[in-house]
């Protein structure tokens, strides 16, 4: 099993001096291929910061971030953007759909940006919408959808194509328990098929789908539950 995502002693300080907020204080974290890891913690504990840094959307103040062995911090803007489009699927806490595009166009966008022909991108997008259970909403605009429906479009966008790393920030927030469970099944299936997944959630029942649950407090990993993969036991990463 190989590490798709590796964070080594990552710090993130927002602002400076008196007003500085230390969102992450020395976090080390690994997600392997085939593994779904859940991150739990109170509001403000640094969960979203951990995820945006993992996805190359934000830079650590200190520490290393590797995606499939590549040091993300050292990449140029362009290289990083390319990696985000091709290897990383990201579900934002606030969906982040493009209001001027329909559901299927939103989902197809990362494929098209990556040079996939638009017919193929649209077919991929339709299949992803089917997987999240809303193919009939393909031609709707985000503003004409419920919160839960927008959320499913955002999830479809994150899983479309062959993503190696899926990062999801509260993907079940606006969903009822049944739909939430379907999304977890989908994420689980993607990880069982070989992707690495990181899921931020407040809900213990959803975190329980993960192989490991990491608990964050005030920017520090305080504990983990679940089975450690064999490789981890051998790596003796604990000081």
């Amino acid at each position: 099993m190989s590490a798709v995502l590796r964070l080594v002693d990552v710090h993130r300080v927002h602002g400076e001096g008196e007003a500085a907020v230390r969102a992450l204080r020395g976090v080390s974290f690994t997600a392997h291929a085939g593994e779904l890891v859940a991150v739990m913690g109170p509001s403000g504990s640094g969960k979203s910061t951990l995820l945006t840094i993992s996805g190359g959307l934000d830079q650590p103040t200190e520490g290393r971030v590797e995606v499939e062995g590549v040091d993300v911090v050292g990449l140029s803007q362009q290289q990083r953007a390319r990696m985000r489009r091709t290897s990383i699927g990201y579900v934002f806490q606030g969906f982040n759909l493009v209001p001027a595009l329909t559901a299927v166009e939103n989902v197809a966008l990362p494929r098209e940006l990556d040079g996939v022909r638009s017919g193929q991108a649209r077919r991929d997008a339709m299949r992803a919408l089917e997987e999240v259970g809303i193919p009939e909403l393909a031609d709707r605009f985000p503003d004409d959808m419920s919160g839960g429906q927008q959320q499913r479009v955002a999830i479809a966008r994150a899983v479309v194509g062959e993503r190696r790393l899926i990062l999801a920030d509260e993907p079940t927030g606006a969903l009822d328990t049944e739909t939430g469970e379907e999304i977890l099944r989908l994420l689980r299936a993607r990880c069982d098929a070989g992707a690495a997944g990181v899921l931020v959630t407040h809900e213990a029942r959803h975190a329980a789908w993960a192989d490991r649950v990491v608990f964050l407090r005030d920017g520090v990993v305080v504990d983990e539950s679940g089975s450690a993969p064999v490789e981890d036991l051998l790596q003796a990463s604990h000081p």
Binding site: P42, R188, E203, A204, R205, A207, A208, W209, A210, V213, F215, V222, D223, E224, S225, G226
Partner: protein, 191 residues
């Protein structure tokens, strides 16, 4: 748990013998609450004494079977139409432990909460794994077990939410003016 009512309601379906009752009970609840066969026999004896069951003769293999009497049927009907009593809260070791931990000096409440949360999360992960495997066949006993699993999932989830809540309250208390022992306990949580 009422072994008495569980056995009576199984006999509502058809006459059965002791060992069979135990097996039927366990297949419907996924072996979550193991029932020993001695317990089944003593309960059957008591039910016979109370006139709720009677001997129904032996089956081909010589097992002694039991069936419900008229008042046995009535007892089952009453059980299914009466809510489970909630008057006396069941004794909850964790709640009692935490109540004592925040008042007895020198207990590291923060660690206590985290250890428990981690243990409950591991249990919840196990139940979820079982749930993923179960319920594919659509048989009635699978459905029954699926519902029992859901109940365990909800209970573990509630416990974790309650632990999160306790931690948040203790952290808040630590930043306010509070009596000495509770403040000390809360301080440990924030460390």
């Amino acid at each position: 748990m009422s072994v008495k009512h569980a056995l009576l309601s199984l006999l509502e379906q058809e006459p059965m013998y002791g060992y069979q009752l135990r097996q039927e009970f366990e297949s419907r609840t996924g072996g979550t609450w193991p029932l020993n066969v001695g317990q089944v026999y003593t309960t059957l004896t008591r039910l016979e004494r109370d006139g709720l069951v009677e001997a129904a003769g032996e089956d081909e293999d010589g097992h002694e079977r039991w069936r419900l009497t008229e008042s046995g049927h009535e007892e089952v009907a009453t059980w299914f139409t009466t809510p489970v009593a909630r008057t006396q809260p069941p004794r909850d070791e964790l709640a009692i432990k935490l109540a004592l931990a925040v008042t007895v000096p020198g207990v590291d409440v923060g660690t206590l909460i985290q250890r428990q949360r981690s243990a409950s999360m591991t249990a919840l992960q196990d139940y979820t794994r079982l749930k993923r495997q179960a319920g594919a066949s659509g048989e009635a006993s699978d459905l029954a077990w699926g519902l029992v699993l859901d109940s365990l999932v909800f209970a573990a989830e509630a416990e974790i939410r309650w632990l999160d809540h306790c931690e948040a309250r203790l952290r808040r208390a630590a930043t306010q003016e509070v009596p000495a022992t509770a403040a000390a306990a809360a301080e440990q949580v924030t460390r």
